[in-house]
Every structure is written in structure tokens, then in C-alpha cells.
Amino acid sequence: MATYQSLDLRRRSATTEPPPSVRGTAVEVAKLIDVSKCIGCKACQVACLEWNNLKEEVGVNVGVYDNPHDLTEHTWTLMRYTEWVNPDGNLEWLIRKDGCMHCDDPGCLKACPSPGAIVQYQNGIVDFVSENCIGCGYCVKGCPFNIPRISNVDRKAYKCTLCSDRVAVGQAPACAKACPTQAIYFGSKEDMIEHAQGRIEDLKERGFANAGLYNPEGVGGTHVMYVLHHNDQPQLYAGLPNKPQIADTVALWKGIFKPLSLGGIALAGVIAFIHYITAGPNEVTEEDVEHAKALTGGRDVS
């Protein structure tokens, strides 16, 4: 598995220069989630908590099986359950393991303004580097799958790492290891696509004419892929986007707006400097202090 090793970077947020690498190109990895084999047992969710040493709160039941009710800074993967009556009138219980898709063209990384807070390794894994995160939340806006969550405690963004620490030493992600029915496969992206083809054939034989692989082009393909019984309707699976794309605002930010905004920042600096030279520094007057006291109910604000 040495070729899966993930220390070498392909991309780094808010950084224009390509990261150096003397090592050979790594094989692209992928996690394949076979929704048709998944029994919704949540072993993956527990494995994720345990491996990453995450302590989630004991919540309440709100009338569904989804617990917690959404992804959080502690819950990086979540089983989402959908009850769907198919056109034949039969119920299908579609259970999808939600979490970071590790897009080949990651919207979060593109949107991130903090250098090195989000990186993509040569093997395709997209990882958050907490010490560089400024908690701005742009990654949340940039993600077409609504995955990252900002902690209320340390104001940093969190999401699935695809167990980059395990992959780096030749192990499959914790969720794949824990899955009792082998609904979660891990390996090279090429192998995963090939394996998926066999599964799709089996599903087609069982009457799922639209079975297919979810590996959306809009984000350059993903390093987490799904085998879906109804690949023509991904939205059935708890709102999995039909055609995910990086939001236009992020594309613009990285495109035309970036030089413009950089120019704007530079211009603001120049104007501030001229203002300082011509008008002098900004100073607090006694009226300002009185006004502030009134607002804070008399407490000393100095």
C-alpha cells in the first residue's frame, strides 16, 4: 500500500505554488459505499467516533432512526434513512452513509482563504489542517454536499479525513474495517470502479435497471463513491445532489473576483495610507466613551 501513502500534497488552499514532491505519483484511492449491501447498522459511525476519539452528545429521538440528527463537528459520518415507495407501490428503505465525498476538484479547498488549512494529497484525499483553520466557514459554503461543520468550541471546521492517518500506513479507513457486510470497500479508485461494475450487474439482474455508480463529474469525480440502486435519482437518498457542482460564487471567487478583490485590498491599503498621511490617526473622544458607557449600562469600558 506504499503507493497509497498520503503525505505528498497535490493542492493546498490559498496557495498558488505547487507543493514540492520528489516521490513518485501516488495511486488515487477511493472508498466505495455499496448502498445495496448496507444494512444501516451504524457500525461505521461508531468506528469513526472511536478511531478519531470523538465524543458525541447523547441526543434525543425525534421520530427517526438518524442519530445524531445531522453531521456535527464530532459526527463526521452519519447514516441517513429514507423511506421511499417505488412506482410498483413497494417500500424501499434507502440507507446512505453520509460524509465527505473527497471531491477530486474540492469546493471547500477552493473556497478556503487560509493558506494550508485545507489540503489535497496526491492520493486524492481532502484533509483539513486544523491549526491553519481560521473558522471563516467558507468551506461550508464551498461544499456542494453540505459536509463541513464548524465547532462552537474552537471555531474550526471538521469533517471526515478518509482516515488519512490510517491510509498513510496502509490501513483501510475505520468505517470500512468495521462494516460487517462489506458494504464499504477501500482501495485504488480504478479497482473500486471495477468492483462497482460487478455489483451494478448483480443489481440489474435483480431488477434495478438504473443501478449505477455515483462518481459525479461536476466535482471532477469523487474519492468516495456510491453504488446506488437508482443512480438516475440520487436525490432519493436523503437529498444526495443529482449534479453536484462547486457554487458559482466560489468559482467566481477563484476566477475573476480573486484578482479584482486582491486589487481592491491593495487599493484599500493605499487609500488608508493616504488618509493617515492627510488626516492623521483615529482617536477616541470623551463623547465616544460616554456613549459606550450608556450602551453597557455604566460599566467602565476603558
Binding site: 451504524k42 434525543v60 457486510t181
Partner: protein, 825 residues
Amino acid sequence: MTNTWMDIKNSDVIVIMGGNAAEAHPCGFKWVTEAKAHNKAKLIVVDPRFTRSASVADYYCPIRPGTDIAFLGGVINYLLSNDLIQKEYVLNFTNAAYIVKPEFGFKDGLFTGYDEVKRDYDKSSWDYEIGEDGFAKVDMTLQDPRCVYQLMKQHYSRYTPELVERICGSPKEKFLKVAEYMASTSKPDKAMTSMYALGWTQHSKGAQNIRTMAMVQLLLGNIGVRGGGMNALRGHSNIQGLTDVGLMSHLMPGYLNMPTQKEPDLATYMSSRGFKPLRPGQTSYWQNYKKFFVSFQKSIFGKAATAENDWAYNYLPKLDVTYDILRAFDLMYNGKMNGYICQGFNPLMSFPNKAKNLQALAKLKWLVVMDPLQTETARFWENHGEFNDSKPEEIQTEVFELPTTSFAEDEGSLTNSSRWLQWHWPGQEPPYETKTDIDIMAEIFLRLKTMYVNEGGAFPDPILNLTWNYQTPHAPTPEELAKELNGRVLEDITDPADPTKIILAAGKQLDGFAQLTDDGKTACGCWIYSGCFTDAGNQMARRDTTDPGGTGLAPKWTWAWPANRRILYNRASADVAGKPWAPQKPLIQWNGSRWVGFDVPDYGPTIKPEQSVGPFIMQQEGVARLFARTGMREGPFPEHYEPMEAPIANLMSPAIKGNPVARMFKGDREALGSAEKFPIVATTYRLTEHFHYWSKHVLPNAVMQPEFFVEMSEQLAAEKGIKIGGWVKVSSNRGFVKAKAVVTKRLQPLKVDGKVQHVIGIPIHWGFTGAAKKGYGVNVLGPVVGDANSETPEFKAYLVDVEPTTPPVTEPAVASVSSSKKQQG
């Protein structure tokens, strides 16, 4: 399991009915996905709820809880009337051809011999006609109207698809589709497996539920073959081991029976255990009963068990009645049982009628709880508001908690569903002052013995003479105990032809139960476990994954009882001539001189096919019983009866509503509710996220399913004005619980006998200790009635009503006083 977990991958059709393997046995369920992925298997789920098993099934059919016999009786009718059975198998390997006594009959829901007062049967008419040669009469043409085949055909002809639909609420076309899938495995080279669990056992006729499917499997020729079998999925890691070593009041290790008061001496006890073959030349392996029994007595009483004292038969208690848990709590409740050692068990929450259990425990003088966790039973006296409304100030029971190691902290073997005895080693040091169960029991025993030595007693002999040859008496090792279960030679055994020649030398560990004798020269703690720890070492500790032929049998991985046999009745995998029914999936076959193949033959290894020795060697007939002449209390053919609490009359036999031989104690019958007051059917179950009442003590599990809920259909919720996620009150005639409402399409109202019937589902995992939100014990609701054969409580089908309600009061009254004081301060 007749087969093994891994063997499920060889199935062509997998039926999950009376269980929910994906949800309750997710790890084993991998073999279902394996069968689907690599053997093109079809998965069929029949369940009141659309479960997680159903979510990955090829076909799902709903059923009303407690009507499985009607459904499967309908399948038997379908198979017989369409002639979709494996004829050669049925003719040669079952008792289809046996002629039944002319006195035997069935009328108005009852078989011959019923005694209304005793609620029991005189079973003497349930037998074969015996010919002048002393053997059962048979008609191999199956034409005799008194042969089992004809009687069975007649009995189940009443189970029409129309009646199945009316009783079970399963739409006729769905029922027929399921029957069709099952029937597809009547081809000799196709196999169906039946995976079931508490969904079949926790009924007043649980054993008969299972038996009905066993009959279906026999008609289809699916017993003894790869990918077939009756596969009970055991719920606890060692619950198979519990029954194997006889941890029930009426059993001794290896499924030997505890003597009853009607058997005061060994001769009487053995008189009904001769097991003379009912057909010429049959094996009838239970003929060796005395060898197993005497070796057991030698194992536990050593030199004190002699031929002269009938192997210390008088040391054994003689039962007047069966002391199952329902009875034990009834005795406590009535003040007749004053002390209770509760080991690895949480009966306050897991046995019916929590209120009665609570009162029963409160009447004890002392309660000892041995458990790794703080169970509700150990804390029964605490008041937790509505969740456990006890009155601590009135309870005098002295409670001793003895913390034990968990499975991950000690050494020993666990017997799984596949009958594998798997040795395991501690994964970590036990915390604080915990001790193993073995050490605790040893110390209790040694102190008791000292008291008997010093003070005497009414009958000290069995205690004083109990074999206790452990190197450290207060801490026997798991290996020492395992060796005892395996058994050893006590005195040299010589060749009958040449007494100077020693075949088995004293001190040798036995190689297997075939070496047992009934003359006191061998000792064996549990005959079916003989072979697990031989002179070659601990067979249970083997970890060789070699799997010749890719059969999934892996014969060198641990050790399976009996005799390391992985698939029971495996002689039936080959036809009469000894050739495999399924050439692509052979198991064992006759090679001209021996039975050879992938498994240890469940048969004499050199018995020639032409000797017509049946493959079911434990039976006196040598064949499997479509007609059960012994063993079942309700009758030789399973018959549909309604659950003890049912929404409709018994459409099969209106005169008999519930199981006519189910036992009910005084007061418990009066506590049954009526369909007028409680019109909704309830069924209880387990969720993947939790393991009984244990895993709520574990944070991640508590996070996954934090709070007690009940499941109901959208239609029922609308009718009752219940909101998704809102609080509901579920009431039976015995009490109520409050829970959150999960409103779902996975439960649909059924059409039962033309009327809409609602079913709700109640998972059981919450209580008043642990990390999850506090919840009610679901056993507040269920009736106190057990299966007529096993006394397993009827938790899967009873009557309730539901209504919207307010959140429960979670704190005891005392807490509110202190909080109001706090406010004043």
C-alpha cells in the same frame, strides 16, 4: 444451527422469518450478502415490520405477529397440493411412510387425548402402529390413508391461501410468491436456509413455529445439505453454551434430563430411556444414554458414584415441577423463595410483568448480583420516577453486588450459534476488585462446603462428595474445567477379546464420546463436548483457517460439537445410493468403502448405503419426523393457535383460541386484556445499535439510539393524533410505558379477517441505568405466559392501545422536594 454461519453463503434462497438477522446479527449477516453477491441467492423476509433485513431483501411479505404457523402451514399445503417436494428425500429420509395408530385424530383444534383440567395431553395415541416384528409399520407407496404423508396432507389442506391471508394479513399474492420462492428449492441441487431467532421463540407456541419450518425444510430436502438447515441465531455470545451444559432446571449437561419425582431410582429413570430402534438396523444413538449419564455422574461425584449406589443417583434432585424463571419469580412473589443469586442476568427488565418482578425482588431476604455492569436488577430498589417507581423505604432486601469480569477480560470458551466452542483469551486486565464468575462460584462453594463439614445439614453428601480436584481450589482454571467437560479415562479399558491388552489407559483425555462406557471407567462432564480438549491439546483454541473446497466449513478452526461436525445430519446430503444430491456442492459421499468428504460424517463411517440406515441417527426411526411422536406438548403436527392475547378469534378452530397447553399462573390469566379495550397488536424487538440492556452503558451506542421509542404506521398516528417525535403512551392490561413516536411507512396496517389491524413495534433497550436517556422497561406490558415447551415468554405478540401523552416524570418525588428547598435557600 444445524449448519454454520459461513455455510449460509452456499444457500440459493434465504428466508428470514421469526428473526431480523441484518439488525440483530449484523456480523453473521455478512454471509447473506456473500450468498447474494456470489451465489446469486434470493433473500426473502417475512416480518410484521419492514426491517433492516427487509431493506436488502429481494422480496418482503408482511405478517401479523403470532401467525407464523398459519403462514407456514399454508406453505406446507402449497408444497403438497402442487407436489413441489423432494420426493426421494421425503420418502427415504422422513417418516412420511409410517403408519399412525388408528386412535390418533384431530378435531376442533385439538388432537386426541386432551385433558381440559390438566391443560395437557395423554400422548399415547400419537404413535406409529407397531407390527408383529416389533417395528413400526410403513407404506412406501404413501397411499395408506393412515400414513404420515396422507395425514399431514389432510391436516394442512385446511391452510388455504385465502385463509392464510385472513389470519396473517399477508396479501394472498405475496404469500404465494414466498411459497413459490421456497418451493424452488425442492430441486435436489437447490437449498434454502431458514434464519430465525426470538421472533419465533418468544411466543406461547414458539417451539411449534420452528417445527413448522423444519417440516417445510424436510419436504424440500433442505436438511443436512450445504446452504440448508434450520439455523437458530443465538442472541448472547454463549447462549448456545448455556443450553449445551444444561443451565436450566430440567436439564443436565448434553441435553440429559433432570430426574423427576416419578423417577425415584435409576432403573425407573432408565426405563423410559432405552431408545430401542423403531425400524430394523437403525442407529438410535440415544441408546447410549446410560454411558453419557454414568460418565456424567462419575465426573461430578467421582469415587462416590458407584455401581452399587446407582452412580449416586440419589444425589440428584428430583423435580416435582419445572423451575424456570417465570416460576422462580412467582415463588419469590409468593414469599416461597427468599434468596436469589442472579448471575449475568437482568430479570427485572427482561422477564414479563416488571411490576411483579419488582415486588418479587422486594420480598427477598437477600439478592446477590454477579455482573460486570450496574444492572437495573441490582438497583431495583432505587426510585427513578415513572421509570422505576419503587418505595426504597419499604424494601428490606439486602443486595450484594459482586462485580465480575466481562468476556474481554477472562479466558475460556464461548459456544456460538454454529456450535463452535471458541477459546478466547483476555484482551485486558479486569478493573479494580472484579473477579471471574468461576472464582466467585468457587469461593461460594468452598464456604458452603466448610459449613456442611462443620455444622452438618439435612443432606450433606452431594456437597461433600462433589469432585473438586483443582490445583487452586478457590480458583479453578478454565482449562481444568474444559478438560472435565471433555472427560477422561478413570480406569484402564481393555480389549474385550484380550483382557491383557489395554485399549484406553487410565488418565487419558477422551478423544470423543464414542469412548464413553456405562461401567464407571470413564468420566465426562458433558458428552456432546467430548473431543474439545484431548491429549492432543485444546481443540477449541485452534485457529487454522484452512477451508478445503471453499465449503465454508473450515474444519480446523476451533471445534464444533458434536465430534467437530459442522453440518448436522450430513448423511442426508447424499441420495439413497450415497451420491450427493447437489454434485456442485458435495458434502459427504459413499466412495465404495467409506463415507468421505468435507465434513465429519454424522453416520457410521463404514455403513453401506444398501443397509438402509437412516441419516437421522439420533431418532429411533433413523428418519426425520414430519409427525412428532414425542417431544412436543401441543401435538404431532403444528397447529395454528392465536397468541394468548389476540385481536381475532382462531379462524382455524374457533373453539380453541390460544395454545391449549400453555401454562399460566393464577392471576396472570386474569391479567390478559381484551381486543375491545386493547385493539392494537404489539411486538417487541432489538435494534442493531444496542445489545439487550448492556450497550446503553456504552457512550457511542447510547449516541446511536439515545432514547426509547415505539414505531407505528402513518395511518395509526393520524387516527390517534400522534405526531412524529411526540410522546405516546402505550398501555396493555398490565401497565403502560411512555415513549417517543417513530411514525413510519415501514409499518403498514394489515387487513386481518377483512378488518384493518394496526401493529406497533416496541424496541426494548432502555432502562434506568447507563449512558442513554432513561426509559421504561418494556416488560411492563407483556403477558406472563411462556411457550408450552420451553417457557419462553410471549413478548412478540400481545395487545395494547396507544394515545398521545406528555413527557414522563423522570425524577422521584424526593428530588423535587430538595429542589424546592434549594429555591427557598
